[in-house]
Symmetry: C2
Subunit: 154 residues, 2 copies
DNA sequence: TGATCACGTATCATATAAAGTTACATGAAA
DNA sequence: TTTCATGTAACTTTATATGATACGTGATCA
C-alpha cells in the first residue's frame, strides 16, 4: 500500500476549515482534497471524538473547527487519528528465543524507538497556529490572493 | 500488510552464518528463520551483489559471509536490500499547488526527514561485529551453550 | 555420464491496510 | 415532508511483503 497520508490529509482539511467562517461539508472538503466525502468523515471521526472539530447534520451543516489553534499540536491530531503506525520497518519477531535474534532486535529496536520518539517529539513541537502562520506567510509572499486562501477550485 | 522485516531477517541470517564455518543452504537458513528458502534467496540477492555474501551451487554449496564484520554497518545492509521504505506515513501530495498543503508538507516533511535521518544515522553507527559481540555476551550471560550458538532447532 | 544438490528466478497465491465507492439510516433545516 | 448532510457498514481497489510452486542452471559425486 502507499504511505499512510491521513495525518497529512486531515491537517490540510483543518487549515482549510480554519480559513472559513461557516461549516464546510464533507462534500466540499472532499473536492478540495480530491477524494471522497466518506474518506473525510472517516478521518474526521477521531477528531470529533477528541473535541477538535464539530459536525452538524442537515441544511447548513458540515464541519467546524472548534479547538484553539495555539494549543493543539500535530501530536494531538496524530493521536486523535488513532496513532497510526509510524515506521514501515520492524523486527521479525517480538520476543524471540534465539539469542542472535535478541541481539538483532535490541539494536534495531533501539534505533526504531529513537526514530519514532523523534518524530513524535517534532509533532509535539508544532501547533496548528504555526502551520496556519506559515500558510499566511506563503500567501503574502506569493503576492496577494489568487483565490482567497487556497489555490483549489473555489 | 505487516511491517517490513527484511532487514531484521537478513541480519539474523548473517549473524547465524557468522557462527558457522561452512556454507549454509537456503533450506537450513529458512528452517531457522521459520520461512521459505526462496525468501532467503530473495533477500540475500542484494547482499550478494554488494559482495557481502557469496553463494555456491551444487553439493556442499550454500551461503557464506565474506565481508568484514568490523567494517560493515547496518546501513550498508539496509542499502544492499534496496533501501526499503522507512516510514509508514507520508505527505498526501509531493508538490501541491495549494498553499495550505505546502505549509503542511513543509512541517511534516521536515519531521519525516529528521526521523529518517536519525534512523539511518543509527544504522550507520552499528557494525555487524557489534551485533555479534552482543550475541556472544548474551550467550555467556545465559551461562554457556544450550545449543551451540542459537536456540533454534539444530 | 547421469543423478542429485543448491542456487536463480519467474509466477502465482496470501495477507494486510489505506483509500475509494456505494448504499442506506438518522437527524436537522427549509 | 422534502432535502441536505452526517454516521456507518460493506465492498472494491491498490500496493507490497511474504509464502509457495515450478523449473532452469550449474556444480558435485557416484
Amino acid at each position: 500500500m502507499k504511505r499512510d497520508s491521513r495525518l497529512s490529509g486531515v491537517l490540510h482539511v483543518l487549515l482549510h476549515m480554519a480559513e472559513q467562517s461557516g461549516p464546510q461539508t464533507s462534500e466540499t472538503l472532499a473536492r478540495a482534497m480530491d477524494t471522497n466525502p466518506v474518506v473525510i468523515r472517516r478521518v474526521m471521526a477521531g477528531l470529533r471524538e477528541q473535541g477538535f472539530v464539530h459536525s452538524e447534520k442537515g441544511h447548513g451543516g458540515g464541519w467546524t473547527i472548534v479547538c484553539d489553534l495555539e494549543t493543539v499540536r500535530l501530536r494531538d491530531i496524530y493521536e486523535a487519528l488513532g496513532r497510526p503506525e509510524i515506521l514501515a520497518m520492524g523486527n521479525r519477531t517480538d520476543a524471540p528465543g534465539c539469542l542472535v535474534e535478541q541481539a538483532v532486535n535490541a539494536a534495531l529496536g533501539q534505533a526504531f524507538d529513537d526514530a519514532e520518539a523523534l518524530l513524535l517529539r517534532r509533532f509535539g513541537e508544532i501547533t496548528l497556529a504555526q502551520l496556519s502562520a506559515d500558510f499566511h506567510a506563503r500567501l503574502t509572499e506569493r503576492g496577494g490572493a489568487i483565490t482567497p486562501e487556497t489555490s483549489h477550485a473555489a
